[in-house]
Subunit: 347 residues, 4 copies
């Protein structure tokens, strides 16, 4: 059994990790930690866990020596400090925050307003969307778990990039996220009467996931990819839908909808967690909720030679806790779907 700890266990990603790990057959959840609630019971904070996970929240330092792997879900800037401790203790760190996602310190400076304090850690850290980078983390001491929006977008676009069928100089991405994406912290914008029956964009062209998206797409293509990325707050608890607009290039224009469809099916034919919709069907948040699935649908706008891709994930599972577990499974040599067989509910 792998001994696992969760840092930041009372945030939403941490709580979802705890919930999922309860049913992971190869894991012993050794310890949970929270700065805000140290000494309290996690099932007092999250009563869904009553009698299921009657654990007391500990300090970060108390759990360090006891774990083979630690999931950290803490504000950016904090993970880096922790990573130093875990490295000394020999544990693997899977970081759900932003500290180990960007490969270029300048990007981190620009978008997060901080500098690397321990650059050597970043050299060893590996960013990993399993379907794209799984071979790179076999020995990684630190795994940068991807952001929710970038996951939905990178999985959707990878086949287009590999096949070289779209214009990479400008891709437009219109994403919508459920409210759990904003976390557990209270804000006026997530107060129920302000959120319910409401819908709006936010941080248009200015969201911190933008450089992460461009990094992944640029690395996949070997070219500089630029995106206009606009997220929206969606009045549901869970789920992200990204509608992506890519102009077909000369090679792409020559393809029929069926040929385009075949490229995606081929790219993901061995992937358990990526499903391509049938022609005429649309990816829907409802079909991936509570699961580690990513559903993708493809639509060719012949009128404008534009490829429209809709990509859906559960932001808390494939977009956070589930993907982190998937990364752990890979890192520890387990079958990738271990503990991740949740079937999305129909309703």
């Amino acid at each position: 059994m792998i001994k696992v700890g969760i840092i930041g266990a009372t945030g939403y990603a941490g709580a979802e990790l705890a919930r999922l790990l309860v049913n992971h057959p190869e894991v012993k959840l050794e310890a949970v930690s929270s700065v805000s609630y140290e000494g309290q019971r996690i099932d007092d904070i999250y009563p869904n866990l009553k009698e299921v996970l009657p654990m007391t929240l500990e300090s970060v330092d108390a759990i360090i020596p006891r774990c083979d792997v630690v999931f950290a879900s803490v504000p950016h800037g904090v993970s880096e400090e922790m990573a130093l401790k875990y490295k000394d203790a020999g544990a693997v760190l899977i970081d759900l925050g932003a500290d180990f996602r960007l490969h270029n310190e300048a990007d981190y400076n620009k978008w997060y307003g901080k500098e690397y304090k321990h650059p050597e850690l970043h050299e060893k850290a590996v960013y990993c969307i399993p379907e794209l980078h799984r071979d790179e983390i076999k020995d990684a001491p630190i795994i940068g778990n991807p952001g929710c929006y970038p996951t939905s977008i990178s999985l959707a676009l990878m086949p287009a990039i590999k096949a070289g069928i779209i214009d990479l100089s400008h891709i437009i991405i219109d994403s919508k996220s459920g409210v759990t994406g904003a976390g557990r912290g209270l804000t006026q914008g997530t107060h129920y009467p302000d959120t319910n029956e409401a819908f709006a964009a936010y941080k248009a062209g200015a969201h911190r996931h933008t450089p992460e998206i461009e990094q992944t797409l640029s690395e996949l293509s070997g070219e500089v990819v630029k995106v206009t990325f606009v997220p929206h707050l969606l009045p549901v608890n869970r789920g992200i839908e990204s509608t992506i607009y890519a102009t077909l290039n000369e090679k792409g224009k020559a393809l029929t909808a069926e040929q385009i469809d075949a490229i995606w099916r081929d790219a993901y034919k061995d992937e358990r967690f990526v499903r391509i919709e049938k022609a005429g069907s649309y990816a829907n948040i409802k079909n991936v909720r509570m699961s580690n699935m990513c559903d993708i649908s493809l639509h060719r706008d012949d009128h404008c030679d534009t490829l429209i891709i809709s990509s859906c994930i559960d932001n808390m599972v494939k977009g956070a806790a589930g993907q982190a577990i998937q990364n752990m499974n890979i890192r520890f040599g387990l079958p990738e779907a271990t503990g991740l067989t949740m079937v999305p509910p129909a309703f």
Copy 2:
């Protein structure tokens, strides 16, 4: 492996059964049946099941000889006919409909407007809320799976009845159910714009679950129990909350809130799926969703010597598919929680 079939697999209870059984370690889902969609793929009707359950829907007759147990979720009156066939084939029938719930044919006549065509089947059928009746189904050929409302209510009231602390001549029950309780069929009342931001009672004092509730409570107490039962339609997908108002009798009035609490804790101390809230906490639909849990909270209104009980279940799991699997586990000698370890999500 137990070979399982589902009749009525495209109704909501059937679809939830299919979803849960995919992850049941001792079950092989042998066949799914649907009158309306015979010949189609279940994952075309329920795209959440894409690549998870790529099965074709068959006729009822085609699946009869291949299953050890069949779950039937069909309109009342239909199960009885099927039961005859299954009996001949030697399979166990777990009926999620109403045909095998009432012990008294007169009640069935009155509330469902039908007569028993095969009275001998009803003699062999056993109604079973596992926490109350599990010992009675060890050899049962037909198990009447309880209604959703009666499950939430009977579990809440059993300790009061066993302890003899409430007035049984009149109990008031105010229940609220998520919209899946109304099923997959289209009605104006479940059309999204009519249901969202709406709330109302329905069938006040006239819901068909009333005789089932009274039957269970009367049998537990050995007295005639009468209830006023008013259900309401709640704008959520899943979940039932029942608020129950029972007048404390002389024995009950002598008890403190702590003593009352202890009665419930003791009654359910060995039950995995029933959780009693701490003093001052309230059962909440959100803490049981997607799970087989029943959460119960107790509140003593000293002002009127009234015991207020709030009881929450997921109507599709503990109120239907989950409880049916729990009954199957008992009937086939498996640990009761096999395949039912889902932890409710916090959000």
Copy 3:
């Protein structure tokens, strides 16, 4: 034109008052006040009011001398202090808080933990649900505007009490309120992901509206009326539904459903804002939202000789701002529906 001020204009009741008064033909909204946001624009806090109400929030003292009537929506204990100032200035105070609702200081002490500092004010203050007490406020300097739950409940029960057909020693009331009832302040319990797809009771038998309900019913009947009152938080923005269970007394048992129905129709035949449902129909929050209506439906449970009444209002309109305007109209001799002709939307 009546010159009107609003104290606490950035709370939910205050903001709803501002919105409704914009379209009141006999009112000039002279000033709005907020302790938290003094000096800011109300339409910066509430962007729904952009270009509709470009007013700056002022201090309480600044608006005193300029208004004929002031609506105060502030925490209990605060209104009393303000009332003193307004009395001196000669303005009518319509208080949407709790300070002027209870007629008995002992009740106020018990439920709100405070004492009257200016008892003389309370002697002059009049509590007024217009349909029940409109004749009492013609000259009142201070009007205690009723609580939301008590409004829905008192209107539902008045005809029963006047007709003397129910047992008054114990009435059970199960109410459900939309989330605006909890106000604009941020709490974990009103954070969107905690509230959406959730449902639970709160303050069972212990809500501060209990003595107000009992006071109104007792005064109407001339007897001591006792109620068990349990509110629940409903995942909608607006609306209260109260399901009330009253045991029919000997006089009541002798009545048919039709006769009972006739009592309510007669009691409200001249009331524009109270509508009695047809037999077999149910009051529904959706049919009263955004309006000053109270819809009531009656259901006779012959089985237990119990009268079930369902009563729906919009908690922010008939339960707060709308009723306050109705009281102002009466106090200033205007037709009662002036500015309150909003028709509830069907969706």
Copy 4:
């Protein structure tokens, strides 16, 4: 008083018209018609209208001679037939359907699969978004009321086109509509449990509003404008948000965000129903619901020289019934906001 009739009064647009016209000070709602419910009371179908609009639904022929203006909200192909009758009777027809929106019969053929049966009617019909075309309908016998999506989009883009600052060869539009946009008819896709907590695109690049959008933009610009238009179904009752992505041309690139903002403010400085958000604020469905407002926010993505416009309306008001009344006011010489002063609720 203008005598008004509504054809198709039990559809959602018709019901909203009825609701709004009740409070229109210059209108007498003379008659309501419904094919499906002829002879029934409209307040039996829509109980929100109980005691407010106790009218009986009549046949179309019965209401023809009695009205000065008729609003028709019927399936495409049906309006044309009606228009002929109304023309003979001398009434103005305001058509909320699609029959009189497209100026080119070939477009109508292609997107609606029908031919004009009475081409002469189309010559006299005028399509009118009031802010863009109000001068054209002063004497029009038939007014084609715009579609909901085109309204939100055309208002957002008009200033860009007039100023000549964007590339018109390809504009990308990602729209999201509340469920009332799908109408009152029952479908699996609008069944509450299928819609709630769900989100998906539909008819990507293939929605019938596409030619209407291109027509308006092309006429405004005098060039052929092409759009990729993807609508999504949003789990709220009301509201459309359109996020529009336009590439700045050379003239546009030279402008700062402030200069761009000034263009929109200037274009709409005299318009009561169009509001431009402050820099950094986002248009939100919640701020326009239940009103005739259109809120627009502007965001310059410097990174890609792309202008992002977010535009919100209530699909049932500015997108249907409200705009139709606005058109009627213009046609009959009334102040444009008569009967349309509804202030959007904050919650």
